[in-house]
Amino acid sequence: MDPFLTSRIMTDLLGGLTNGVVYGLVALSLVLVWRSTGILNFAQGAMPMVATYLGMGLLSYNLSYWPCVAVAIVAGFTIGGITERVLVRGLYGKPEINPIVVMVGFLIVLEAVAAAVWSTKPRGLPSPFSAIDWQIGGKPFGLSDFSVFEILTAIGVMAVIAALFRFTKLGLQLRASAIAPEVSRLLGVRVGRMLTLGWMLSTAVGTITTILVASNYFTGLTPQVMDGVFAFGFIAAAVGGLDSPVGSIVAGVSIGIILQFVGDYLNSNDIILTALLILVVSLMVRPNGLFTRSSARRV
């Protein structure tokens, strides 16, 4: 049994799964914004990055890890809410290129401001759990305490979001506002508030993801920490279907695993190429995404 557990295939599978849940979380945060407001948020990596700096920056003031995480998540909620109210509110109903241009601009501004305030030097964040891989019989097994924590956190976040949408009145209002704002408004749902909430949730999920990405010693926190992860998360969201939380997660995990195998068996320089290939092929074959059920809602 041991040789199989530490085999190349198993290590790649587990490594890919760990990366994949992160891509899945980014995709999920994109889907949350898309479903609630119909906007592709290109600043989806940068907004949580700022929240992470605000929260985890308190480590320098001798606050311990978990309170900093809590502050960062609250900052994420706040930044998401303010962005929707101030920047995004005026973009509804405008040509679809408008919000894309605005959000790409916002991404540039946020990264520049973060670099000016916190510098581009990587900041090592303490990892709450060891990021060193477990060893079985003297050979690395593709999981560490921290990667297990990453996977469990991702499952936890997904479960909370799913429960919110499925089983709560708030979730129903969120879904109703996104699908039929006029009808919802007539029925007494405060649609504007729901849209803000969608952005708040999305940025908070993004902040948890950013903390996971930056808390592993090997990369640290930089203003650009989420750029690459965002790209893979975006691809996962597009492949899985921008409408489908489940699709985004499945696609995120699948892409994580596929890219890990490509990196190991082909060459890691081929990772981006493969990711873009997956995106292009999936848009050609199933432009709505693998999991979306949009045709049922055709109007």
Binding site: I108, P122, G124, Q224
Partner: protein, 453 residues
Amino acid sequence: MVTARRCRLATTGTAILLCLGLVTTGTSIVTAGATTKHAVKVPGVTANKITIGATVPLTGIASAGYSDAAKAANAVFKYINHKGGVFGRKINYVQKDDCYGTPGFGCTGVPNTVTQTKALLALPVFATVGSLGTPTQDSVRSLLRANKVPQLFVNSGSTDWNSPGAYPSLFGWQINYHAEGKIFAQYIKTTYPTANTCFLGQADDFGSDGLAGILAGGIAPSDTQLYTVGGLVVSGGASVGPYVAKFLADKCDVVVLYTIPGATDAVLGAALKIGYSPHWIISNVGSDPVTVDEPFAKAPFPDPEIGAVSFSYLHTTTDTGNPWLAWTTKVLTADQTDFPGFGANSVITGNMANGIGWGVSFVEALKAAGKNFTRASFLNTLTHTTFSQTPSLTPLRYTPGNHQGLNGGFLTVVKSATTLAPINGQVFTTDATNSGPIKPATSLSSGIPSWLK
């Protein structure tokens, strides 16, 4: 309708993603080759000012550590300016961020090296001094040649800067990667004669020059891997993981790295993760302990770079008898704009020392060129003078047929998260030819010119 809109959006989104990631976003709005319209004879030079420039990574993956080099050189210029300048001319140093030529992921919105170089040409500048990077400076050497702008002291150890025939006003400064690789190979042969050596380098002339040096020195790596900067940026460093896993599987005892610090971090992190600890040998430009330690600073384990072997063409900070050390501290302390809080007990990083080195070289060359100089006379002085009072270990000497710059240095070992120390202090010199012997240095640089103190 919904479907159509989603299709359009997904397509638009894909297009933007492609633009952000793969296409160089900067477009030039200034005209290349803008020559001076000022009433001065020498572009960039007036009676009381000389304007020079550089493209440097102030953002993005290569900015870690490297962003300090040009700032340190500028601290030298500010120090000289404060003393009245060189022949009454103050040095105006314009640094343009090029994000190591990888706009898009990692530095959305930052123009590329070509665009930024054109912006410098439009100022105009007398020369570019200390622009950073092998692929980046390769991309503008023809542009600078066409505009007759000297490209001085390129901050890279590539052998590309030594082609006086094709690029008569292009000059390197630090010892080249090929020579460094030969000296590494000699060290591996004597220290680990039976070791299985493997190699990871950057997939451009940085990595291939280093590999050529290792091969020329008589070491044939059993596993050779090259990473692309693009892959490194997009994956946040994770793209090097598979190479490290392969080195472990191939039982490499010695791993030579020709990596930028961001990639060094990623390699050391990936190795740590899988419990792999070979003897690391890391090129000078990727080994600065302070820079490499940054992501590991809060980790509950020692800096994984400790014990790694590197190479230096400058004195280490452990050499307290070196007069340049105190001078460097004085110059950096005087520049509280770029080095806020720098003081007597602050650490001088390898990148700061590098910037101080070529900053001083430029000032010394300017002094040697005299009060009335042209681009041609400046370059003539540069190729006919030996600068023997420099912060480098060996004197700086160019000739009309050799534009490489420094040719010597010693092996170092990472002692702590902030310090490198010489292994035995023996300074070797060699050249970038395969057959050029490695010899103990016959002359060393010494002292500070009194006018600079």
